[in-house]
């Protein structure tokens, strides 16, 4: 039932479906409704990493090495964890510089070097051709096997076919047509191949489903689950060894490590991976999801590898069936026609996905970095004079696609039979790993130079060629085998598989070790020895500092150009429509309208034109073309350095600005706090004025009332008249006192008070004050006692102010003492360098609540009319201010009912105090 035509028709139906998907995605994109603007599609498209090699080859390798197949998938999983650092930077650089391919990236980084771009392209093509041949081999082998159904016969047994009957050729040609149709619809390579990406994502789903279907069938259909498969394998002596991966079998530690590193680099630098990861990326944020979705895909497609491998080994114990075909032959042996067909389609999808993306990436590189730079330099072709070059560019790309696929077929015919799928793939991996130093060094090390990159790449590739490709050709008998066994010209040290006598490693480990040492060593040494040109210096800075500066290539250009020249240049490569769109966009960004507005042909426009052009033909070619129409004055290295310094100055300034703005914020906060404090002060002042006003109005009220009474009524009795006039007099005194004290307080508080400081003998001051008040004491019939020591050090103070304090305390005491029974004690003492004065009375005392506030303004002890003392409520406050001004303290101690004691201290004159202390 599975006749040839069924398989062919199914295959074409599948390809037709791919066409439909790609066409749908492209037409959606044309209408501005992209289907690929999704992190899931992006992650699935990354799975183009899993090719026919994964699909058939993993099982093949596992059947020999056990878990030795794993490093190829561990590598990408490890690498993708580093993508946040590495890939995000490459993405940003590529978007800013409109990078069109890996070769373009390397060329652009090292001063837009056409030579370097060409070398990368050549290495990539040579390195990838075996990989493409692998896909052709897989598709044609699986087709040949499936056609034999229900017999299981290996292709090698079928015998070599004439070229025109060879399935692989037809596969190559059909894939070429598909790729041409979907890969070269647009000229503009920096734009996305939406149709292609959508188709690739679909293919990733198909191959995963097909592989899982086989896995489930083998594990649960043929056997009874994972446990069963592994138990049976463990019973088989030959298979049991494979369950302990790192002992005995080929997968030694060194080869595990190198294979892991190799695949870490492959996921970055395979041209197709660079294409889907970087060029086709529509949104940097898609990386977030891809970082875990892609490893998940890798895990899913590897889960059933070991069960299928063991199943195959158990099922075909005689070794007659190639392990690479187990995925297909197991369902066939079990007579599962539809499953076998699904597997074939899965393998086909894995192969086509890889071939399509790889050839598109390579054809872009061949066109932009190999052919165009050469053609543009050929003056006799007069390319620069042609009006529209879009057709030529597309032609080159299409030719390149066909050519690369035919090269793949050629390699398949020449060398394909000698190697297993995995080995062919690894040869390609090792080739693209050579790009790692130039690319990674290029984005992190400004000192890397064009010469360094060129020398490193060539040396590394040379070693790769010698240690991997040459032996492959020799084994296929295209070169004498003696080369492998005895070295060239019998020189044993140069044996390609045991270079400089390094033996005991597998071929890939051996090649990687030597090629990486050579590549990195030469790259670093040559870079360090030389100086970069101005152009290299500038590009290095744009790449390495991509996150630190705005895209600002324009600053580096100086010269003269004309707008029509630039327009015509763009029109030649992008077509007039593309040029119009680009110029309109440029004008709109500057608030102008193209083509009405005059645009200045300044550095910015030239840079813009070059970047646009780079998006179509690559940086190196764009450079050549722009240089042809714009008369450029070359910048010297020093000038470039100056511009770069300027840029870093800007960074420094912006840091300073940030700093300033932070300081400003802090200052603002301080100001706000100060303002709050001021408001509070203002409120206090308001309260103070309100209180003062109240205190002034109260005596005024009495004065006015009694004056009016006396004025209006001349007949007031004499006794009353006297009483009223007495009140008026006292209230006037009170008013005067209050005004004086308010002014006094204002002076002290504002710091404008005059202080006449001199040495003051406290004994004398107290005696004099008491003497001055003796009349008052007598009037109130109070007993006064002064306890003064005979000698006490003088203090430095204003004598009048001290008298003021003493008077205040004494008159307070008088006020509160009951006439006739009152007693006042004044004590002077000295302790700890301070003089202390206590004024004690035997009045009613002060409650603790009152003690707390008694020194505040306008607070007076005494609550009721009967004991409310005459006074302003400012005396104690002012006294305390005075004492504190001279460095002393004032407080009150009192028990209600047992009198009060007001005390204050003043610092003794220092010299004397010390002298006394010493004596």
């Amino acid at each position: 039932m599975l006749q040839g035509w069924v398989i062919v028709v199914t295959s074409f139906a599948y390809l037709g479906l791919l066409f439909a998907i790609a066409y749908y995605a492209d037409s959606r994109a044309d209408r501005g409704r992209s289907v690929i603007a999704s992190p899931y599609i992006y992650s699935l498209s990354l799975a183009v990493y899993a090719t026919a090699w994964t699909f058939y080859g993993s099982v093949g390798r596992a059947a020999v090495d056990g878990v030795g197949f794993l490093p190829i998938y561990l590598g990408p999983t490890l690498m993708i964890a580093l993508w946040w650092i590495v890939m995000r930077k490459i993405l940003r650089i590529s978007k800013q510089n409109r990078i069109t391919s890996l070769a373009d990236f390397v060329a652009s980084r090292y001063g837009k070097s056409a030579l370097l771009g060409g070398v990368v392209t050549i290495i990539a093509v040579i390195g990838i051709v075996p990989y493409i041949s692998l896909q052709l081999k897989a598709v044609s082998s699986s087709f040949i096997i499936l056609v034999q159904y229900p017999e299981i016969i290996m292709p090698a047994k079928v015998g070599a076919l004439p070229v025109l009957q060879d399935t692989a050729l037809w596969v190559a040609l059909i894939l070429a047509i598909f790729t041409v149709l979907f890969g070269t619809r647009h000229l503009y390579s920096a734009e996305h191949h939406e149709g292609m990406v959508a188709a690739i994502a679909f293919e990733s789903l198909v191959k995963l489903l097909a592989f899982l279907a086989v896995g489930v069938f083998v594990t649960f259909g043929i056997y009874n689950g994972f446990g069963d498969v592994f138990a049976r394998a463990a019973d088989e002596p030959k298979l049991a060894a494979m369950l302990t991966p790192l002992e005995g079998v080929a997968g030694s530690y060194a080869s595990w490590i190198w294979l892991t590193i190799l695949s870490m680099l492959a996921i970055m630098f395979l041209p197709r991976q660079f294409q889907v990861t970087v060029i086709e990326n529509v949104d940097e944020k898609h990386l977030h999801k891809a970082i875990w979705l892609f490893p998940l895909y890798m895990l899913a497609i590897n889960i059933f590898v070991l069960p299928i491998a063991f199943g195959g080994r158990l099922h075909f114990p005689d070794g007659m069936v190639d392990a690479d075909t187990f995925v297909l032959t197991l369902p066939m042996a079990e007579r599962q026609e539809l499953l076998a067909l699904l597997v074939f389609i899965g393998g086909l999808s894995a192969a086509t996905g890889m071939v399509i993306v790889e050839t598109i990436a390579l054809s872009t590189m061949v066109c932009n970095d190999l052919v165009m730079p050469v053609l543009l330099r050929q003056r006799r072709l007069r390319l620069a004079e042609r009006r529209d070059l879009t057709g030529l560019l597309l032609g080159i790309r299409r030719g390149a696609i066909v050519l690369i696929l035919l090269l793949g077929y050629l390699y398949f015919r020449l060398a394909g039979e000698a190697y297993a799928l995995v080995s062919i793939g690894l040869i390609s991996f090792a080739a693209v790993a050579q790009f790692a130093p130039a690319v990674l060094g290029g984005i992190f090390w400004k000192g890397a130079t064009r010469r360094g990159a060129l020398a490193g790449l060539c040396t590394g590739f040379g070693v790769w060629f010698y240690t991997l490709l040459l032996p492959a050709l020799a084994r296929s008998d295209w070169l004498p085998r003696s080369l492998l066994e005895h070295g060239p010209f019998g020189n044993e040290l140069l044996k390609p598989l045991e270079l400089f006598g390094l033996a005991g490693l597998d071929q890939i480990t051996h090649a990687m070790l030597w090629s990486m040492i050579a590549n990195v060593g030469v790259y670093v040494v040559v870079s360090l020895l030389g100086t970069p040109s101005a152009e290299e210096h500038r590009q290095a800075s744009l790449f390495v500092d991509v996150f630190r500066r705005e895209a600002g290539g324009a600053r580096f250009w100086r010269g003269t150009a004309s707008v029509p020249d630039l327009y015509n240049l763009l029109a030649r490569f992008l077509g007039p429509e593309g040029a119009d769109t680009a110029f309109a966009e440029y004008a709109r960004a500057r608030g102008r309208h193209w083509p009405d507005a005059e645009l200045a042909a300044d550095a910015e426009l030239v840079h813009f034109a070059e970047t646009q052009l780079a998006g179509a033909i690559g940086a190196a070619s764009a450079r050549i073309m722009v240089a042809a129409v714009a008369k450029e004055e070359a910048l010297t290295l020093n000038e470039v350095r100056e511009i770069l310094d300027e840029a870093s100055q800007v960074v420094v300034y912006s840091h300073k600005l940030e700093q300033k703005s932070r300081e400003l914020e802090a200052a603002t906060a301080e100001l706000r706090a100060a303002n709050e404090a001021l408001k509070e002060l203002d409120r206090l002042k308001d309260d103070f004025i309100s209180t003062v006003t109240h205190e002034l109005r109260t005596p005024l009220t009495s004065i006015r009332a009694f004056s009016e009474i006396l004025l209006a009524d001349p007949d007031v009795e004499l006794a009353q008249r006297k009483k009223f006039l007495g009140i008026i007099t006292r209230e006037t005194e009170r008013l005067t006192r209050l005004i004086n004290q308010v002014l006094d307080l204002a002076k002290i508080e504002s710091g404008r008070a005059e202080w006449h400081v001199s040495r003051v003998e406290l004994r004398e001051v107290i005696s004099d004050t008491l003497a001055g008040m003796s009349q008052v004491f007598k009037e109130n019939n109070l007993e006064v006692e002064a306890r003064l020591p005979e000698r006490i050090s003088p203090v430095n103070a204003d004598i009048d102010r001290l008298i003021q304090v003493l008077l205040n305390l004494l008159s307070n005491a008088v006020k509160f003492c009951e006439p006739g029974r009152g007693r006042i004690e004044v004590t002077l003492s000295e302790a700890d360098g301070y003089a202390r004065i206590d004024v004690r009375d035997n009045g009613p005392g002060i409650s603790p609540e009152e003690q707390r506030v008694i020194f505040d303004k306008f607070r007076q002890a005494g609550d009721t009319l009967t004991n409310k003392p005459p006074g302003t409520g400012l005396g104690l406050h002012i006294s305390r201010q005075i004492v504190e001004h001279f460095g002393g303290r004032m407080w009150v101690a009192s028990v209600p009912g047992k009198g009060a004691c007001f005390s204050f201290t003043l610092p003794l004159e220092p010299a004397r105090a010390e002298a006394r202390a010493a004596a």
């Binding site: 309100s690 006003t693 109240h694 205190e695 002034l696 109005r697 109260t698 005596p699 005024l700 009220t701 009495s702 004065i703 006015r704 009332a705 009694f706 009016e708 009474i709 209006a712 009524d713 009353q720 009483k723 009140i727 209230e731 609550d863 009721t864 009319l865 009967t866 409310k868």
Partner: protein, 129 residues
């Protein structure tokens, strides 16, 4: 017309002056020196008019005024607030609490007597119309 007047103030001199003035005008005068005393005095013998100082110890004039207006049986008592605090907010507060008059110290003695008289004439007039 002879009225019963209660003077509430903690400044003895002002009390003396008011007492003299009102007695001379023929009124019956009683004195309280703080808010609590005032309320007690009103309770004992409700006056026709209270001259109420605002800044007083124990209970302020505002408080006394509020208490008085809470009692319906004291509704008819006229309240004249006397205060050295003459800011607009303070005047409004007094009137809002139910004072009939707010007089700022120092005041004209004759005017005060006239205004007190005026209070009663006003309330004697028929309302409305």
């Amino acid at each position: 017309m002879k009225r019963k007047v209660l003077i509430v103030d903690d400044e003895p001199n002002i009390v003396t002056a008011l007492e003299f003035l009102l007695q001379r005008s023929g009124h019956e005068v009683k004195v309280a020196t703080n808010g609590e005393e005032a309320l007690a005095a009103i309770e004992r013998d409700s006056p026709d008019v209270v001259l109420l100082d605002v800044m007083m110890p124990i209970k302020s004039g505002y408080e006394v005024c509020q208490r008085m207006r809470e009692r319906p049986e004291w509704r008819h008592i006229k309240i004249v607030m006397l205060s050295a605090k003459g800011r607009e907010a303070e005047v409004s507060k007094g009137l809002a609490l139910g004072a009939d008059l707010y007089v700022t110290k120092p005041f004209s003695t004759q005017e005060l007597i006239d205004q007190i008289e005026g209070l009663f004439e006003e309330s004697a007039k028929p309302s409305g119309g």
